[in-house]
Structures are given as structure tokens and as C-alpha cells.
Amino acid sequence: MSEQNLFHEVTSQSVEERLAAEALIVDVDGFEGPLDLLLSLSRTQKVDLRRISVLELARQYLTFVEHAKELRIELAADYLVMAAWLAYLKSRLLLPPDPSEEGPSGAELAAHLAFQLERLQAMRDAAARLMGRDQMGRNFFARGQNEDIQRIRTVTYSANLLDLMQGYARIRTKDDFRPFVMDRDSVFTMEEALERMRALLGFTGDWTDMLSYLPDGWHKDPVKRRSATAATFAASLQLVKEGRLEIRQNEDFAPIQLRSLDGDR
């Protein structure tokens, strides 16, 4: 029971136990978090982790934290979070279960904590066993002189007649060479279309022909018209994707129509 508590009833503790308890406090930096501390505390119960009393453990932990506070030891936040949680767990374990209360029962929470402690302990044991194994470079050895494969690297270079002729053409026509640049005058970009349409969106609650969104001066010239139409269509699809537009076409090659969804919101 609580009489076995680490820090209460100091008088009944052996010197050794007391030293161990103080070592816990002094060494708080040596713990890798609250779970590690809980695992250490649980050893004082000297039982199989499956039979551990979580209630008892919670008491030990809370005493530990109180004691640390008395000694003005700054505990990291996660130790205090754990303390708060354990205090809550303790109350749920002690009080009769309230059927109206939602969430997991105290027993379930306690079982999970016990599981976590057991799992951590199991991993520690596994780590110890792993490191206790024969290891290469310590117990057994690989070949000392690696005569590993000699790699004979043959590099062949490829070039075909086309490469050759293009190479030559590039040099011979250098003087009248002009890097290929798209003629931007008659290109309406999707970004431009998007910007334009975002500004116009609010005005249309009804189905409107997409072509009415084409900017002024882009209707006549067939090249410009094609570019503007494509950009506006792509921008429309983007806005549909964003949920701001609806798009429809009644039949093949029929006008594409748009309707703003902004008004519905």
C-alpha cells in the first residue's frame, strides 16, 4: 500500500532505500522522460509489470513530483503534464465509475499505461540482448583484405549523324542565329486569364458564354483569339476546381457556359 511509498514514512525506510530515492530526485536529468521515470519507480514494486499497481505507481509519481517541488527542482513540462494526468487517473480509479461519463474508463487508461511500461521495458530488454549479440568487428570479422570486384568501366560515346549535322549547322548559321523566342504579343497566358476572371466573377450569377470573358482586342485576330480562348478555358477549369465556378456545354461544339458560384455562399 501507500506505506511503501518512496518518500513518505521515511523513518521506516532503510538507508539504502532512502539513498535510492534521493538519487532518483538528484538524477532527474538522467531520465528520458516521464515514462522512463515511471518505469524506474515501478521497480520498487518488485512485481511483474503485468501485475503492477498503476494506482500505487501514480501515487509514487505524484509524491516524486511534490518532493521535487519542495527541493525546488525544475521539472520539465512533460513531467508536470504526466503528473496532472496521473492525478486525474488516480481520481478515476478511486471513485466508483460514473456510467454517464464519456470516454475510456479508469481501468482502461490504467491498462494502457501498464502496457506502455511493459512495452518500453520489453524494448529495453531487446536492445540489451541485441547489443549483447556477437557483433561484426568485435566478435566475428569480415574479409580483412577486400579484393572486391574490379570494375572495368567502358564508356562509349554516342552521337549520330543528325547530332553531327545539327552541330555543324549551329556553327555555320551562328551569324543569323536568333534564339527561339515565343512571340508573346499574341499570347494570352492562363495567369492573365485567371486574374481577369477573378475580377469579373462576382458579376455573373447566370450562365454566360465563356467567350464573353475574352479581353477586348482579342476577338478579331484568329491567332490572338485562339490563345485567349485557350487561356480563358484553362482558367475556367481552375476556378471550377476551386469551387468558384460551374461550367457546362450542352452538346458537342456548343458554346461553353460559365456560372459563378460565389453568389450562392
Binding site: L35, A122, L130, R133, M136, A142, E147
Partner: protein, 211 residues
Amino acid sequence: MTDIHSATPPGAQQSDSDSLFDAPPMAEQERMVEAVLFASSTPVTLRDLESRMPHGCNPGEAVEHLRKRYEGRGVRVVRVGDAWAMRTAPDLGFLMQKEIVETRKLSRAAIETLAIIAYHQPVTRTEIEEIRGVSVSRGTVDQLLEMEWVRIGRRRMTPGRPVTFVVTPVFLDHFGLESARDLPGLKELRAAGLLENRPPPGSLPLGQGGG
């Protein structure tokens, strides 16, 4: 690297030019495997053996013969994942004082993290943190990655698509394990349910430090 050889299964019908040469006798194949495994300090896959040996060889069978031949000798033929290697017998380690390589001392956190990755793989950083109850420092995992004991596995198909960690053949080789299934006590841990990733009921304050 060419896959031409390994593309032809050993028993398969071979093209005319190939069938001019019979595969060497098994004793000879065993010699070949012996030479290659002996010469290489890192494990060699059957696929690699096959690509180096003449057509029609059966390196798997040859390795098996070789393994038997070396049983009880000062050097052993060991399996490492899907590859094979020759290693000195562990009981003779005492003769090798000179060869001992000082390995970097791993921190307790690194050792625990390594064990968790080995036993729980593929495992996410969050899961490691949940098991250890503390956040895992970047350096710890980096050190294991750098040693090539751990590598990044597939992403977990859960929100955020977190990366997972798995152990490598270098890890298996170092600890003399044939595969991750041969980790000591793995079966018992699994049977005891300790390798499960049980979600906490409600919210527990453990292992959330990293999240």
C-alpha cells in the same frame, strides 16, 4: 551493370549461342562461389553471383554446398538478408585483437531507438516516440542513418504520409542476423502483444512530445 544473365532463369531454355556452353559442374560452381564470397567483404546476392558466373549456373545450390563445407571451420558462410557472406567464427574473436574496429559508442537513446526500429519496423518517428515516451532527437536517427543500420522505408499511408524507418542489411550483417525475423525474442514479444501499436484510449500524455 547488366541484367542479361539474371534475366535467364538457370533452368530455362537458352538461346543457341548459349547452349554451346554447358554450365560447369557443381564442384566448379562451388569453387566460384567460394572465390567470390571470400574476396568480397560485403555480402553478395545470388543475383550478383549469377550475373558473374557462366550461364546456366545455380549459385543457390552452390552456396548451400559451400555453407555445409565450411560448417565448424574457422570461417563460416552466413546468410545476410538475400545475400551471402563469409565471416570468421564468433568463438575465435579473441584472436582478432588487431582487427577490432572501435565502433562509435551509441547513446542509450540511440540503442533503444535502434531496437524499436528493428522490432517494430516499418515504424514512424511518432510511433518511436510513443514507445519511448519522449521525443526522438534528430541526431539520434541521423546517427543510425549515417551508420547505415537504418534507412527510410515507404511512407505510411496515413494523413501526413509520414516516413517510416526500417533496418538495413548492414545492420543484419553487423549483428550476424539472417533476417529481421531472426531478431532475438521476436516471436515471444509478438505473442505477448508487445509489438502492437495500440492506440491510447482517449488521450494519454505519453509520446506526444514529438507531435
